[in-house]
């Protein structure tokens, strides 16, 4: 429920007159909930900024968090959740930073047996709740974007294409191969083949825990693409359990050379290179 303009005015006055007391108490509560992982000087600065943000929102006549005069406050809340999310605080610790304001407020409101005071408290605590929810939302959004960034980095990291020998590049695959990764692997391998003008590529699947039909299909497509570019592909790292599974599934690797280990594959390539005098 939005505040009435009258309430907003009164809260602005309240926050201004008790500014120091509020900030001190708020900082104390937050410091305790974060178990001293942030310095009190830093928290002091954050809470006094926020306290000023709330005060300015109220004195500007904001009756709800979405109102124009609360723009500055919302920006501060986003900033707070941003820094908390990046510093690795959890959702509760982030939300508590705002909720603690309510406890601090209760202490400055005065006579708590008075009905009008209680109504005021309920009104302002509703406003603070919405601010906390807003903080929580932006915390989640920031964490999601962090996860998305990391997923992308992981994708890049987990698919290195290395030059193994003169004219031989290798892709050591580690982990499950889904369509997105298979796509990255293929692109990188083909690009590396062009860049190094290598006639041979080895795809090593030692680190792939299970090869099902989809993984096999991705590997086969990569091999076919490399062949179209004139490179010979060898699949290595086929462990006994993988070999038996592939046979049971009925996957045909056709005339593609496969080897048990990367060393075998490299030896195979080198002997072929010698024969053909390349």
């Amino acid at each position: 429920m939005p505040l009435s303009p009258d309430e907003a005015r009164r809260f602005a006055v309240l926050l201004e007159s008790h500014a120091e007391q509020l900030t001190a108490r708020w900082t104390e509560l937050v410091t305790r909930s974060l178990r001293n992982r942030l310095s009190s000087a830093e928290l002091q600065r954050q809470t006094s900024d926020l306290q000023r943000g709330f005060q300015q929102a109220f004195s500007g006549g904001a009756t709800d968090l979405g109102d124009g005069p609360a723009d500055e406050l919302r920006a501060q809340l986003s900033e707070l959740s941003n820094s908390r999310a990046r510093q690795g605080f959890n959702a509760t610790e982030t939300a508590v930073s705002i909720y603690a304001f309510k406890d601090a407020l209760l202490e400055v409101l005065g006579d708590q047996s008075d009905a009008a005071t209680l109504r005021d408290y309920v009104a302002i605590s509703g406003f603070v709740d919405r601010a906390a929810l807003f903080t929580f939302d932006s915390y989640v959004r920031i964490r999601e974007s962090l996860i998305a960034d990391q997923t992308e980095q992981l994708l890049e990291l987990s698919t290195p294409v290395v030059k193994l020998w003169e004219g031989v590049v290798a892709v050591p695959l580690v982990g499950t191969l889904d369509s997105a990764r298979a796509q990255v692997v293929m692109e990188r391998l083909l690009q590396t083949l062009v860049d190094t003008s290598s006639p041979y590529a080895i795809i090593d699947i030692t680190g792939v825990p299970a090869v099902d039909t989809q993984v096999a299909q991705h590997i086969l497509k990569t091999v076919v693409a490399a062949r179209l570019m004139g490179a010979d592909c060898i699949i290595s790292g086929i462990r006994p359990q993988i070999a038996q599974t592939i046979v049971a599934l009925g996957i045909e690797f056709g005339d593609i050379a496969t080897k048990a280990s990367l060393a075998d594959a490299l030896r195979h390539v080198i002997s072929r290179t010698k024969q053909s005098g390349r």
Binding site: P209, A210, V211, D212, T213, Q214, A216, Q217, P240, Q241, I242, Q244, T245, A248, L249, G250, I251
Partner: protein, 112 residues
Amino acid sequence: MRTVAVGVKLSLVDQTKIVTAASELARNTLVYGGGGEVEVTRVHNDRRAGIRIVFADQGPGIVDLDLALTDGYTTGGGLGLGLSGARRLVDEFDIDTEPGKGTTITIVKWCR
């Protein structure tokens, strides 16, 4: 799933087989069945332990089961080996499907 398979002391080859079969069937549940439920349980008979996995969806069901179990037949873009291959990877394979009602597949792998 791998944890349960290790828990009932399946050999590494059998672990890989059941995990691969589960991967195939789970993909079918998701892609053709529009999503569903998977239940993994440990089972025992008189002599041995094993692992049972049930895949259930409320999708369109399979119209021609024999055709669907033929190697190389696919309505998607895959190799057409998932269903038939999964059957070869496990000890017991039971499929219950009705067009329009959905599909339930139960697989069991016993310890040797």
